[in-house]
């Protein structure tokens, strides 16, 4: 065994005084070999991103200096001068971030931004740089490299932007690539392609990759070794198969158990009367420019949806497939251009003014981001009681109902007097669910409601939704981009693509015998598909 590419010894990143713990990363030691892919897994606040940032010397300036050693090619990265650090960054060490679109400067052409690396670190001439960049774009399999060279970031898709970022990172053939959740913001099919690209690059260039992720599916796809972190400490480290199949630490076991499997739920729901029937919903977005020449996007092309009491319909699809627009049209936060929505045997489209406000009681929504979904200036109890008060329940009874719901969603009664910022993301999502259920809706729409949450919290929220549905018998329209999550909770699944439902059916049927090509593509792109069930294979050389 040769000496490791990077050797982290007793790394500690202290937090400022008054933070909830003393160290963001505490006494972390790990190594990464040449040509190896090490996945660092952990939930929010585990310190995995700060570890990556301290490797790159990009820690936020308000943090105290990190302690310990990070040995890379014989030098301690923590002791480097600014000048030496600049020599290394981009040349020997490179990083790819989570939000590819935010990492590119919107006012420069993509080609110019990639060229910058060469301009900074080499003496190549303009033409030579151009050829190099085109070669790189080919290598990361961007279609039509010449055109992309001249494009602006907003003209590219998220996946294309991430390829550009990877190209930039690889420009000078670094020894170490640090990737911080590089596929989290991408669609599942795009994610699958990027992961494959990472594997190819590793085998071709022998680059060591430190891959940070929260998703065990991704780990199963690409990792050679896995490090599990929690509260800034290393919980467990080992080869992929050892960690995934035979986890030693309790925490790792819990995390792995919480990962949703791609296995449809088997217990059949008790179905009641139809609660939602939407027919022929259409919606076209028009963007107008100064000169009036607009661009039209058909977000919905005549979609039909039906749902019964006690049933959960999963709406899956990638970004831009129209699934959120469908939800917004059903709840009429966006006006559909055409089509009918009938909720609980009463027309919902066509209502206006106070009739609409009155009918809004029947359908409620829980949004994706629990941080912006609650009014920061209202106490939790008031927020939950607001709906019933609007619909005429006396204040005292509304408060009492709010307290009941706070308990039902698993929070302390004292939460009623506290404000949203005092709660964690998962707790806030519970509050949002309580607020939506306070008006006793017939239909609940969950629009990516668990996508922003950690996997263990995700499992709890899914369980909460299922339990509340069993008690209250509402219909649940569950929108998600994650087939594994959908399989866990949905009775029926509808797959959307480009504003249409391309296939729908009972979850078990759909997963076992997908008829539509796009459904099959989605299913095969699920990261680490079935690794929980399939016999283990040795790590790739």
């Amino acid at each position: 065994m040769t000496e490791p590419l990077i050797d982290i010894r007793h790394l500690s990143v202290p937090l400022p005084r008054g933070a909830d713990r003393a160290f963001a990363v505490e006494d972390l030691s790990l190594t990464l070999n040449r040509g190896e892919i090490l996945c660092v897994v952990g939930e929010t606040g585990s310190g995995k991103s700060l570890t990556a940032l301290s490797l790159m010397g990009l820690l936020p300036t308000n943090l105290p200096r990190p302690q310990g050693e990070i040995l890379f090619e014989g030098r301690d990265l923590l002791g480097l001068s600014r000048r030496d650090r600049l020599q290394l960054s981009g040349r020997r060490l490179a990083m790819v971030f989570q939000e590819p679109i935010a990492a590119l400067n919107p006012i420069y052409r993509v080609g110019a931004q990639v060229s910058e690396v060469f301009r900074l670190h080499t003496d190549l001439k303009r033409d030579e740089i151009r050829d190099k960049v085109i070669d790189l774009f080919r290598e990361v399999r961007l279609p039509d490299p010449e055109a992309i060279l001249r494009a602006y970031p907003h003209q590219l898709s998220g996946g294309q932007c991430q390829r550009v970022m990877i190209a930039t990172a690889l420009a000078l053939d670094p020894a170490l690539l640090i990737a911080d959740e590089p596929t989290t913001a991408l669609d599942v099919t795009t994610q699958a392609q990027i992961l494959k690209l990472m594997l190819d690059l590793r085998s071709k260039h022998g680059t060591g990759i430190l891959f940070i992720t929260h998703d065990f599916g991704v780990v199963a796809e690409i990792a050679d070794r896995v490090a599990v972190m929690r509260h800034g400490k290393l919980v467990e480290i080992g080869t992929r198969d050892a960690v995934l199949n035979d986890p030693q630490a309790d925490y790792t076991r819990q995390l792995i158990a919480a990962v949703p499997r791609l296995a449809p739920k088997t217990t059949a729901a008790v179905l009641g009367a139809p609660v939602l029937s939407a027919e022929g919903l259409t919606k076209t977005y028009k963007t107008r420019t100064m000169l009036g020449t607009g661009r039209e996007v058909q977000a919905l092309k005549g979609v039909d949806v039906t749902l019964r009491r006690g049933e959960t319909l999963g709406l899956v699809g990638e970004s831009g497939s129209g699934k959120s627009t469908l939800a917004q049209c059903v709840i009429r936060l966006v006006e559909p251009d055409g089509g009918e929505v009938v909720i609980d045997n009463g027309a919902f489209t066509g209502l206006t003014g106070s009739a609409l406000r009155h009918a809004r009681r029947k359908v409620q929504i829980v949004f994706q981001d629990p941080y912006t979904a609650l009014d920061p200036r209202h106490a939790v109890g008031d927020a939950i009681a607001e709906g019933p008060i609007i619909h005429g329940l006396p204040r005292e009874q509304a408060k009492a109902r709010a307290l009941e719901l706070i308990e039902a969603v698993g929070l302390e009664r004292s939460a009623a007097r506290r404000f949203p910022h005092e709660f964690s993301g998962g707790q806030r999502q519970r509050i949002c669910i309580a607020r939506a259920l306070a008006v006793r809706p017939d239909l609940l729409i969950a629009d990516e409601s668990v996508s922003a949450l950690d996997v263990s919290v995700q499992a709890q929220i899914l369980e909460l939704l299922a339990r509340m549905q069993k008690d209250l018998q509402f219909g649940l329209l569950f929108i998600t981009h994650d087939l594994r999550v959908a399989s866990r909770i949905c009775d029926r699944i509808a797959v959307m693509q480009r504003g249409e439902i391309v296939e729908q059916g009972p979850a078990a049927d759909l997963f076992a015998h997908p008829r539509n090509a796009y459904t099959r593509e989605l299913l095969s792109a699920v990261p680490g598909r079935d690794w929980q069930d399939r016999p283990s294979q040795g790590p790739q050389p």
Partner: protein, 279 residues
């Protein structure tokens, strides 16, 4: 929260003192603002030769006590500016909310008025209106209120549009809340900080506007008085009795400067960009 800095403390001290003097000053002044002492005309302040303890800051051209005059002027200037600022803030914010709520044609027409107002120098509008309708206290206060409403309208429209797109506002809408509840209980408290900062920026501007109009003789008319009017009174005596102009000038300077400094401090503190999300 960080310690407030010295300048902010000083600025709020000066403003508090100014308000206290305006409210309670009358109790302590021995002379009425209208008392004339023709024998002590143009008497210099007490600390100068020829001054007396009876008139600590001197007297004006008809022997009125400068202290009493300044207190009365301060009262007038502050209340006119306050009334003007409030009228402008409320009216402008209302227009902004209307525009953001109705969108479409209503919004375009309202914003056209805003652009119209913003494209004309306000002093010109003020002079024209005062010339046409003559001067009255009511008209003057309304005129002050007209100043700056367009900034509130623009600002309010912008912040309301972005607040309405927030999931919490949409969730409240989905609960079936009417526009009144949505805007007053949810959106207004969340956008208030931006508007409050704007108030602190407009207030000194209105004081200056009142002062300049009164200085020109178009603002507050005798027997009422304001800081600007006293300042204008002293114009002819600058070489012989500088104190008539300097005292009100100094007050105006201190008040507007303090208010602007306080506004800056408030903006830094309330700026949503500086707030971090606690996870």
């Amino acid at each position: 929260m960080s310690r407030p800095n010295v300048i902010t403390v000083l600025a709020s001290g000066i403003l508090t003192a100014a308000v206290a003097v305006a409210v309670f000053g009358n109790v302590f002044t021995p002379h009425l603002v209208t008392d004339q002492a023709l024998l002590s005309r143009l008497q210099p302040p007490a600390f100068m030769e020829g001054g007396s303890a009876e008139f600590p800051l001197g007297t004006d051209r008809i022997g009125r006590d400068m202290v009493a005059r300044l207190v009365a002027g301060l009262q007038m200037s502050l209340s006119v500016a306050l009334a003007g600022t409030l009228i402008g803030a409320i009216f402008g914010t209302f227009v902004g909310f209307l525009a953001a709520h109705f969108r479409g044609l209503t919004e375009e027409i309202l914003m056209m008025f805003v652009d119209f107002q913003a494209s004309l120098p306000f002093i010109l509008i003020a002079l024209t209106l005062l010339a046409f309708f003559g001067n009255s206290m009511v008209l003057f206060v309304i005129l002050m209120g007209m100043f700056g409403w367009e900034t509130y309208a623009r600002l309010a429209r912008g912040v309301v549009l972005s607040a309405r797109a927030q999931p919490y506002a949409r969730a409240v809408e989905a609960l079936g809340a009417g526009p009144g509840r949505l805007y007053l209980r949810h959106i207004l408290p969340n956008v208030a900080s931006a508007l409050i900062v704007q108030v602190t920026l407009t207030f000194p501007q209105i004081i200056l506007l009142e002062t300049s109009l009164s200085f020109l003789g178009l603002g507050i008319q005798p027997p009422n008085t304001s800081l600007g009017q006293i300042l204008g009174d002293g114009r002819d005596y600058l070489s012989t009795a500088w104190w008539i102009s300097v005292w009100p000038g100094l007050l105006i300077f201190l008040i507007t400067l303090s208010m602007s400094l306080l506004g800056d401090a408030l903006r830094d503190r309330l700026d949503p960009m500086l707030k971090t999300r606690t996870t």
